[in-house]
């Protein structure tokens, strides 16, 4: 009987030891999901990949050149109806925050000529915004950036990038609001609001 008690004691000690071992070794999955702070969630995203591009005006850039501001990368095409619906919202953001935001418009049109065909139909005010320094328009030859680098196969998509090139969110489709983007990018309200 004494020996049996010793055996049972050993088993109990082993169980307690195993419990402590598992407690230390395994994070509590449920808590981890529920309590992810926004800053940590942001850190989970990757950094903006490095790629070179040329705007339709002929200026050449590296993606790293744009990371001194917050960046909105929009994948669009003139034949894509939802893209046209969200276009004014993007321009509105570029107009309100010229010092904080760079708007990178990457077109998947069939030819570069399709872009001016579309932009000339915009209002004068919208065309002026397109002329701003913080708006860059690209024709993506063979969709090397859109599909090859960002794996965007359904238009439109918009990627929000923090200062320093940290990608924080992807907006799929045109169903988003200016307020949502302002919140995500921590953009302060302006007097013009």
């Amino acid at each position: 009987m004494k020996m049996n008690l010793i055996i049972f004691g050993v088993i109990l000690v082993a169980l307690v030891a195993a419990t402590l071992f598992y407690q230390m070794r395994t994070p509590n999955i449920q808590n981890k999901i529920v309590n992810v702070p926004i800053s940590v969630a942001s850190e989970k995203r990757g950094n903006l990949p490095s790629f070179a591009f040329e705007t339709i005006d002929g200026a050449a850039y590296e993606s790293g050149d744009l990371t001194n501001k917050k960046l909105l990368i929009n994948f669009w095409a003139s034949w894509c109806a939802p893209c046209i619906i969200e276009f004014p919202h993007l321009l509105e953001l570029a107009k309100r925050y010229p010092d904080d935001i760079t708007l990178l418009l990457i077109s998947s049109d069939r030819t570069p000529e399709d872009i001016p065909k579309f932009t000339t139909r915009l209002t004068e005010a919208e065309q002026e915004i397109l002329e701003q320094d913080n708006v860059k328009m690209i024709f993506d030859t063979d969709k090397k950036i859109t599909q090859g680098i960002f794996q965007t196969f359904r238009l439109p998509e918009t990627i929000l990038v923090e200062n320093g090139g940290h990608m924080i969110q992807k907006l799929v489709g045109a169903n988003w609001s200016v307020e949502e983007v302002k919140r995500a990018l921590n953009l302060s309200a302006r007097p013009s609001d």
């Binding site: 055996i7 407690q23 196969f153």
Partner: protein, 652 residues
């Protein structure tokens, strides 16, 4: 049912595509005869992670699960599961010729005009005509039936076969965006292609506007009748058809979830098609998919060195560059592959069986210490495999191995063996009488033999339901209560042996067995009471109440009450040794009901371990135990009644 029906509509499409590209299959088969496939054994391909059933597991496990589903075996005679998966996802045309679909039912063979084979396995190519022929029949079966309606066995087999083919269709098309479409490129479409066989979906997607523009002008020029087309125009139409089918149907293909999530906070990995077509892709998933693309190219060109390098690059990307892949543990993936290869519980079963046979020899020749030591040695070897298997599972799943009924069987049996070894050692200082090890071997063997029936779809190393996914309580309440089950079963085994010997005329205190059985039962009482109370504390934390008369709680209470009842009977001297032994032996039934019975009811908060079809098994076990215990008790009782009369005779 509706989803099944929708999926069915695509079955026809799959078969159509199969028939459409059949000449290419034949061509591929001919070339396969000349050169063998790249053997992925020895590379880390089988260890690459895939999310399946809520858990990241190595591709090897994934391959075994699906190969077993299709063929009934984890490995085919001439091809391993990992090699089968590799050929299926990298070279589907060749995979269509591998015999993987098991058909046992002669009626199905007749329906599909197939001859019976000894292996009972058929390839997708063998089945293509029969699938098309039986498709209306299956569609009719699924249309207009009530949900959960029972089909005739042959009808169910036919539906299962079609479902398996659908699933296999998803599997072979998992990476079809990076594989050549096997349709020659029309001259007017200028695309730089990776493969000589033709362009891939991704290559076509980059020029989709031009490509579709050509198709539209073809339709405008020649109309929709393919008879009016030139060979080049037919190729263009076929290419457009296949491209659109892939684009429209594969968005739902989420079988092979090998891409870490890039944008969402959940831990759900995504399939390559999801990363492309559901907006979940990004720069990291694009880079990771490119590695798979290079892997596929190396596999198809049978360049083992490049193939291995790309697998290493994939692991390196997962551990360094891809943020959504945190938590990847290559050692754990390798361990799982090893666990699948070794099959430790099967070895444990063989060795325990050998030990049990040796033990019978020992009982026939009880004086031979050599046989006794052999029993202990062989049982110890079995125990090494058995406990190693449990350690493997704990490490792989990062939790105590008591999360499902299947696991509790493995755990309870290992506790049984530990107790038996300890009792054997301490009772006779290393020269025991074999009763403890005999009882434990019997119990363990029964449990290991039952285990596969508890997990009829195979051992998937499944994840736990949320309520169980707290390691602290799993390691305390569940381990203690299951250890309590083990101790009770051991006590019952001793009681059976005691009754058996008494029935054969042994003395009342035969080898101290009744005392051993009673003391073991007391230890069982300690563990089951503590375990039940801890369960109450857990229930209080999880469900907000200590006790709710849930079936599982009642089962645990039943064991405790039974043990308290027989302890009182023993202390009050109400029971003879034979009746005490019979009541302890009855613990087997009580434990079985508490352990499995709740799953028969399918009600209550503990019904997460519900399994169909164990009602008969449990009923049979209980009935057999009642008969055995009753017979042994009666025989022992009759024997006892004869004894005093003998003594009386002697006295006279």
């Amino acid at each position: 049912m509706k989803i099944l029906l929708i999926r069915f509509c695509f079955a026809f499409m799959l078969v159509f595509m199969l028939a459409f590209t059949m000449p290419h299959f034949v061509q591929a088969q001919e070339s396969a005869d000349q050169a063998t496939q790249l053997d992925v054994r020895g590379t880390d391909f089988a260890t690459l992670p895939v999310l399946h059933e809520g858990r990241l597991k190595p591709l090897d496990s994934f391959a075994r699960i699906y190969l077993k589903r299709f063929s009934g075996r984890e490995n085919l005679r001439n091809i391993s599961a990992a090699n089968w998966l590799a050929v299926s996802i990298f070279n589907p045309a060749e995979a269509a010729n591998i015999d993987i679909f098991r058909i046992n039912d002669p009626q199905i063979l007749n329906l599909m005009d197939l001859n019976r084979r000894e292996s009972r396995l058929y390839s997708l190519q063998d089945l293509s005509d029969g699938l098309m022929k039986t498709e209306p029949q299956v569609r009719a079966l699924l249309t207009g039936t009530e949900p959960n309606q029972d089909f005739e066995p042959a009808q169910q087999s036919l539906i299962d076969l079609h479902e398996n083919v659908l699933l296999y269709g998803d599997l072979v098309k998992s990476l079809s965006m990076i594989l050549p479409l096997n349709i020659p490129l029309p001259a007017e479409l200028e695309i730089e292609t990776t493969y000589q066989e033709g362009a891939t979906f991704l290559e076509l997607a980059a020029t989709e506007q031009e490509f579709m523009g050509l198709v539209q002008s073809l339709l405008a020029r020649q109309g929709e009748n393919p008879d009016n087309y030139s060979q080049d125009e037919r190729a263009l139409a076929a290419l457009a058809f296949e491209y659109n089918v892939l684009r429209e149907t594969e968005q739902q293909n989420n079988l092979l979830q090998i891409i870490p999530p890039e944008w969402n906070d959940s831990r759900d990995w995504i399939s390559p098609w999801q990363s492309l077509l559901s907006g979940q892709g990004g720069p990291q998933s694009a880079a990771y998919l490119r590695l798979w693309q290079d892997m596929a190219a190396a596999y198809r060109s049978q360049d083992r060195t490049v193939f291995t390098n790309h697998i290493e690059a994939a692991f390196s990307a997962l551990s360094q560059n891809i943020t959504g892949a945190d938590g990847i543990n290559k050692t754990s993936l390798q361990l799982e592959t090893l666990y699948r290869a070794i099959k430790p519980f099967l070895w444990a079963e063989y060795l325990y069986l050998a030990a049990f046979i040796l033990l019978i020899v020992f009982f026939i020749r009880p004086d031979s210490t050599l046989i006794y030591k052999s029993v202990i040695a062989v049982a110890s070897a079995g125990f090494v495999f058995h406990s190693a298997g449990l350690l493997f599972r704990s490490f792989i799943l990062a939790r105590p191995p008591v999360g499902s009924l299947y696991e509790t069987l493995l755990f309870v049996s290992v506790i049984l063996m530990i107790l038996a070894f300890a009792i054997e050692y301490f009772r006779r200082k290393g020269n025991g009488n074999g009763n403890a090890i005999g009882g434990a071997l019997l119990g363990t063997l029964i449990m290991l033999l039952i285990a596969p029936f508890i997990a009829p779809d195979g051992d998937h190393l499944e994840t736990l339901v949320a309520v169980l996914n707290t390691n602290f309580w799993l390691a305390t309440h569940v381990t203690i209560i299951t250890a309590g089950y083990a101790i009770c079963i051991l006590a019952a085994c001793f009681a059976h042996i005691y009754l058996f010997h008494r029935a054969r005329g042994a003395r009342s205190d035969y080898r101290g067995l009744i005392s051993l059985s009673y003391k073991t039962a007391l230890a069982g009482l300690l563990f089951t009471s503590v375990g039940t109370m801890l369960g109450g504390v857990w229930a209080d934390q999880s469900w907000g109440r200590f006790w709710g008369w849930d079936p599982k709680e009642n089962g645990a209470l039943l064991i405790v009450l039974w043990l308290i009842w027989l302890t009182h009977a023993r202390l009050g001297d109400y029971f003879s040794n034979i009746t005490l032994a019979a009541s302890i032996a009855f613990l087997n039934i009580i434990v079985a009901i508490a352990w499995f019975g709740v799953n028969l009811l399918s009600v209550g908060l503990h019904s997460y371990g519900f399994i169909d079809g164990i009602a008969w098994g449990l009923g049979l076990f209980c009935a057999a135990e009642i008969v055995i215990i009753g017979a042994l008790w009666l025989a022992a009782f009759m024997q006892k009644r004869r004894e005093p009369s003998k003594a009386k005779d002697a006295a006279l």
